[in-house]
Symmetry: C2
Subunit: 429 residues, 2 copies
């Protein structure tokens, strides 16, 4: 099943897809040489937007939570990629502790955890799930909707002076975080120096900023654009940042309005250059936000000056009730893709440097210029049936294998940006 496009694409994006397709070996070699100098994250997922005239990442997740949405036919790809990832990080590892989010009521998320554990088991690790939930005092087995069972066990400090992280009678060599640390690093995870922590703690949202990611992405897009002789704007969402915003107190509105104005003007110029008839919009969101919280679509700077109380409340806090002070204003990329009458955007999953699958996030109650990670969203797991690695030069550039290949390429550019971002965020040795 491949979602139909609502427009017949003939503008700049087809040119872009054609250029990626015609130069696929150049693309792969360029990426390969990048990985000689940079280390890909253990795993990642990238939300993309295909606007017909532009194909760009809009969010890169270093704690992907939808492995259960991948086509099961791609499970061997996940296992093989995980083998490669483990070989690099901790080849001698026998036991791995997987630390998930504390969402024990989200059955979909729990199926993601189960799928991840399955992948890692097949890659050759004894996997157990360590929960940070304070109320979990003993191993607890949960029934999942698909008939599987998942056992959560309380994480504890073990070994001499409690220097290691583990479970009862389980001393892992490596700890895989599937918890984005939005609320900061819990004491339980602090000062763990004897075990491999994957990804490193500074990949957590207590440290990460979308703006740092997209600054790195801009460099990657520029370099890739030069390699393939394409305008980086076609794959790069521009952005600006306001660092001292307080929505409750209406502080920082001038910064927001000025940046929105500048960005919209730049977009209008680019739209004119490419003959794009659409109305530009920007997305205003928390620079450290996740879960689709604290996000608004803006088409005119005046909108941020006239927020009502409800809107201000919505923008002021994100996951774990954290107050928002740093805000990113990102070029809005409309999506032209629709699945089952819903607005859709592709999400590409990667383990190590390999694309291992993808799916569509679909929301029937949202428009093409809105955040889809919101109530009403569903997932189409089987959408990427041809995979992202087998472009076919005999087909049109927008034929599914070719479109998915282009998606996989742009997603890998975002992953490369994440690699740069993590390098730069690493504390000095």
């Amino acid at each position: 099943m491949v979602p139909r496009l609502t427009t017949a694409l003939t503008g700049p994006l087809l040119d872009l897809e054609r250029r990626i397709l015609d130069n696929d070996t150049t693309v792969e070699r360029w990426l390969r040489t990048q990985w000689l100098e940079h280390t890909p994250p253990f795993y990642s997922s990238v939300d993309l937007r295909n606007a017909g005239f532009k194909l760009a990442p809009v969010d890169t997740n270093l704690f992907p939570g939808g492995f259960n949405n991948l086509n099961p036919a791609f499970l061997p790809l996940c296992v093989q990629a995980a083998m490669s990832a483990i070989e690099k990080v901790c080849p001698e590892a026998r036991n791995l502790l997987l630390i998930p989010e504390n969402h024990t009521r989200n059955q979909f998320y729990l199926m993601n955890v189960a799928r991840l554990a399955t992948i890692l088991h097949h890659a050759g690790l004894n996997v157990r799930i360590g929960s940070l939930l304070p109320e979990l005092s003993a191993p607890t087995t949960l029934d999942l909707p698909d008939g599987q069972k998942l056992t959560l066990e309380p994480v504890r400090r073990i070994g001499p002076e409690g220097r290691r992280l583990g479970l009862d009678e389980f001393d892992p060599c490596a700890v895989l975080l599937n918890n984005d640390l939005s609320g900061g690093v819990p004491p339980m995870l602090q000062n763990v120096n004897e075990q491999f922590m994957i990804p490193p703690l500074w990949a957590g949202w207590h440290v990460r900023r979308k703006s740092a990611h997209f600054a790195a992405y801009q460099e990657v897009a520029t370099s890739f654009g030069a390699e393939l002789d394409i305008d980086p704007w076609l794959i790069n969402p521009e952005f600006a940042v306001c660092g001292k915003v307080n929505f409750h107190e209406r502080a920082g509105e001038d910064c927001l309005a000025a940046n929105i104005d500048t960005l919209l003007n730049r977009m209008r110029a680019k739209y004119q250059e490419y003959g794009i008839g659409a109305e530009p919009f920007v997305i205003v969101k928390a620079d450290a936000g996740t879960y689709g919280m604290g996000i608004m679509t803006v088409k005119d700077a005046s909108e941020v000056r006239n927020l009502n109380r409800k809107q201000r409340n919505k923008m002021a806090v994100v996951k774990e009730g954290l107050a928002v002070t740093e805000v990113i204003i990102q070029e809005g990329v409309p999506t032209v893709e629709r699945v089952d009458e819903g607005t859709a955007e592709p999400v590409v999953y990667m383990i190590d440097r390999y694309v291992v699958g993808g799916f569509y996030r679909v929301n029937t109650s949202r428009g093409i210029d809105e955040n889809l990670n919101a109530p009403g969203m569903t997932f189409k797991p089987l959408a990427f049936e041809t995979g992202c690695t087998l472009p076919n030069a005999d087909l049109d550039p927008d034929a599914p294998p070719n479109r998915f290949y282009a998606y996989g390429v742009v997603a890998r550019l975002a992953m490369l940006a994440a690699a740069l971002e993590l390098e730069r965020a690493a504390p000095p040795l």
Copy 2:
């Protein structure tokens, strides 16, 4: 489609499969740590025999010629594994020259070459096919039965003093051999020191000996057996060698007869130990033979003393008309597998250290104790539909995913043996 077994397996092999299954993470970790010390061949295929009481490799090919027989659904696995292999050998490579066998009339083989070229292209290499055929003086495009086209170009020496191998206007960074060099290294391939030659020339059958491979395999099987507490005999075909045989002149018959006797006696003892009712047999074959040539099944030492002229002629020469003087006597492993009323044996394909697929070699005109690589053989490409990487502990040990997992494990042990063999065969630096 999974072939039915002609017997209900309840003897030692089920125990073996169960032990591999119960210890899958140990198996994977053990293999992973082996690859820290040894380099897997770029690609390989292994012929296995499942006797019900024993599961063993009987031949390991370092120039696999049946990629076209793999389930196309596994193509992404091949591409991902090839990316990993290339990253290790020649990450900066842009152009790769693929040198196939000279079988331009074997359409199946040509489809293998086309499939290999496709895999390598998707892995990010510009691939062209260089032929060693002396009569090929210009690029020649062949039509394949599946509608594809394959262009062969004459290989030549290029660059200053002709130090490099290439084609007209094509200077490859790496050369991938899919030619087993049975007839020795052609002058065209000699003294190529500026380009990566994959696999190294000493992987060719002009140097390789089955006995060196199975000596290395015996070590691997012993070490693996110790790790999993299983009798290595259950996965290891024993063997002996006679180095000075001349079938035409009836020289070396005493050596053959004595070794056959010894091996059959050892087998009888093992059969008794495991309560196996079958009649032992050995396979006598050229130590450097390929293509199923120069092979006979022997149940009593007297048989090699009474060869008629036709039998002697058959045993005396192998591919490219080479005379046989070195002979391996290998423990015969009957196969209990049948596909479409034909005797069948699994063939497992690997790229780098990853199992990427497999198929059954089927021969309706051969018995369970005979070589199947002979006229009448066919291939069942879709047989390995579940892949070899996803064992399922909830199923019986001989359920298809588990049986295929065991096949993938034993095949990887043979690949590890090939790695050891190549290390030892390497000329001093």
